[in-house]
């Protein structure tokens, strides 16, 4: 463990910040230091955790996905619109939405591979298309979910929020795939040097397709989670998941230049961001100053701990 942290100073930095925030919170706010609140933080972390997990893999392959928010707008409105509070339709629609998310991701990946366009442009274009489709479907939130289906967002298993439990499982699975399977090594190899990876005959097309397919699937899970939490999908929602997920990923020590990174760092990054938001709310800081503090913390986290290792690595 110690050796692992020494090889990944970024994790140490994020962990240090989490401890610091927790100590500050416990000293200054009685409400903050309750088990209830810890559960709340976990509950709130789930959607960012899903999207940031996908974004981590995408960024390791030197890509970026800016279509997350638009995809959530589309999938969540369609989900709640089609389910329309009918318990019989809930399960098939959820499965359909997950498949649709994976399919959208496949299209994005296929466009990137076939057209050889930078992911930034493709996903921005996809974002516009998906947002347009969402608005064509409906301009206002429609439909709803049947009773009991908010379990995904608010339920607890042995005191642990369901969403976050699922997120942790998914992080473990993806982390395992990245670290111990051939596919994982191919993902890192491609991100490290796409040209070399192509030259030595890695199945680069498959790697890219898998990456964006996973991203789309995780975005679909996020959509289902948000519908479960809010009871309805919002076609004009801007949850800030595009930039939020990238921030969490980079705070967790994954380089935007690709080829390096860890899902554990991302999980800590997500938790740190949520902890900070939660703490600022409890300290009654106005939104305006919250933004300033968040910006300052990003600067501090990254410039003090994370990217230092550029010089050492």
């Amino acid at each position: 463990m110690i050796a692992y942290l020494r090889r990944n100073p970024a994790l140490l930095g994020v962990l240090g910040l989490i401890v610091l925030l927790a100590v500050i919170g416990c000293i200054f706010s009685a409400d903050f230091r309750s088990i209830q609140n810890l559960q709340n933080i976990f509950e709130q972390s789930a959607p960012l955790a899903f999207t940031a997990l996908g974004q981590t893999v995408v960024i390791i392959t030197r890509g970026i996905d800016l279509s997350i928010d638009a995809q959530i707008a589309l999938l969540s409105s369609v989900a709640s619109g089609v389910i329309d509070s009918d318990p019989q339709r809930a399960l098939p629609v959820v499965i359909g939405v997950l498949a649709a998310g994976a399919f959208i991701g496949l299209i994005t990946g296929a466009l990137i591979v076939a057209l050889r366009i930078h992911a930034l442009i493709v996903t921005l274009g996809m974002a516009a298309v998906l947002q347009g489709l969402a608005l064509l479907y409906t301009l206002t939130p429609v439909g709803g979910i049947p009773d009991g289906y908010d379990f995904f967002a608010y339920g607890r298993v042995l005191g642990v929020p369901v969403g976050m439990a699922l997120a942790v499982v998914l992080f473990a699975v993806v982390g395992f795939v990245l670290a111990y399977t051939r596919l994982g090594r191919q993902i890192f190899a491609f991100g490290g040097d796409p040209h070399a990876a192509t030259m030595v005959g890695l199945p680069t097309t498959r790697v890219i397709l898998f990456t964006y397919c996973l991203m789309g699937f995780l975005t679909a899970i996020t959509s289902v989670f948000l519908v479960s939490r809010l009871g309805v999908g919002n076609p004009v929602a801007d949850g800030g998941f595009n930039l939020g997920s990238i921030t969490a990923v980079v705070i967790g020590g994954t380089m935007l230049t690709g080829g390096r990174g860890s899902v554990l760092g991302t999980l800590l990054g997500v938790f740190m961001v949520q902890l900070l938001n939660n703490l600022l709310n409890f300290l009654d800081v106005s939104t305006f100053y919250q933004w300033m503090i968040q910006g300052a913390v990003v600067i501090a986290a990254v410039s003090l701990f994370v990217e230092r290792r550029r010089t050492t690595a």
């Binding site: 800016l66 466009l111 057209l115 050889r116 366009i117 930078h118 930034l120 442009i121 493709v122 921005l124 274009g125 996809m126 974002a127 516009a128 298309v129 998906l130 947002q131 347009g132 489709l133 608005l135 064509l136 301009l139 796409p194 040209h195 192509t198 930039l243 990238i246 921030t247 980079v250 380089m255 935007l256 230049t257 106005s286 939104t287 305006f288 100053y289 919250q290 933004w291 300033m292 503090i293 968040q294 910006g295 300052a296 990003v298 600067i299 990254v302 410039s303 990217e307 230092r308 550029r310 010089t311």
Partner: protein
Amino acid sequence: MNTTSFPTDRSGKQIDVVAMLERYGLLAFCAVLVLLTASISPAFRSPTNLQNVLTNVAPLAIVVLGQCMVILVRGFDLSVSSVMATAAVIATQFESAGAMAFPLTLLATLIMSLIIGLANGFLVTKRGMSPFLATLATMIVLQGLRFAWTRGAPSGRVPPEIQVIGAGQFYGVPVNLVVLAVLALIVWITLAKTPFGRRVYMVGGGPRAAELVGVNVDRIVIACYVASAVLAGIGGLVLVGYVSGVDNWVGRGYELDSIVAAVMGGVALSGGRGSVLGGILGAFLLTVIFNIVLLLGFPVQLQFVVKGLIIILAMAVYRVGGEIR
């Protein structure tokens, strides 16, 4: 990924075609799109609309100038939209100063832009932050400052000089287009004809090599971020002069639109390649696309779909961005 990246393929006629497409493909696409739309839609080819498009292009293109400089040194600048909005808010703060409102606005905007540009450049070079996070962070900090200052609801009037710059016309030519032309000329000459410009391309092409031959890499990069912030400040003033009402989100979306325009115009995200003229062309194309989907009378929602498809299509057909993978 592109055939041109293999040195052995550099001879022969076929490659020339690729190079030609890369160079002029977007221009051709632009021309075809404009001609096609003009033949379909009488509303598009009306002088009022063409003037409208040209007036719309300037704020985005001014921001793109700076964005190109930053992308040339392997960065990008997400803080431009926040700088624009802050400049717009600044423009309304000197109502009581009367005739002095305009110079005071310019001065305050310049100072604000310099600070943000220096902060971005400093964080990227001296602290080794990735440009994405550094500029995202300054964007959020500036946004917080702006909201705290205006208490969430900015008000006030923009000085008349700025309204003239943003929306005025001079013998039928939009004034803001003249501003764009002057700024574009300055930036283009600086990049293409001066030692500083050559160093910008050197740093973008290979920072390590540039350093070894004695270029002060950090200083060049910081200068590019400062230029981007100052141009974004000017862009914000031009835009607020055009819309003439101010809110806290003037320029929202310009950070991504300006990057897309630059990349469409052939500026490589990997740095060191591209020209601001391409960037301006990209800005023009993007504005025309918005205008076309508006005029063809699609339902409002379909505009998003069409915009997205055209962006992907424009990039796909001519693969201007083929090099950046």
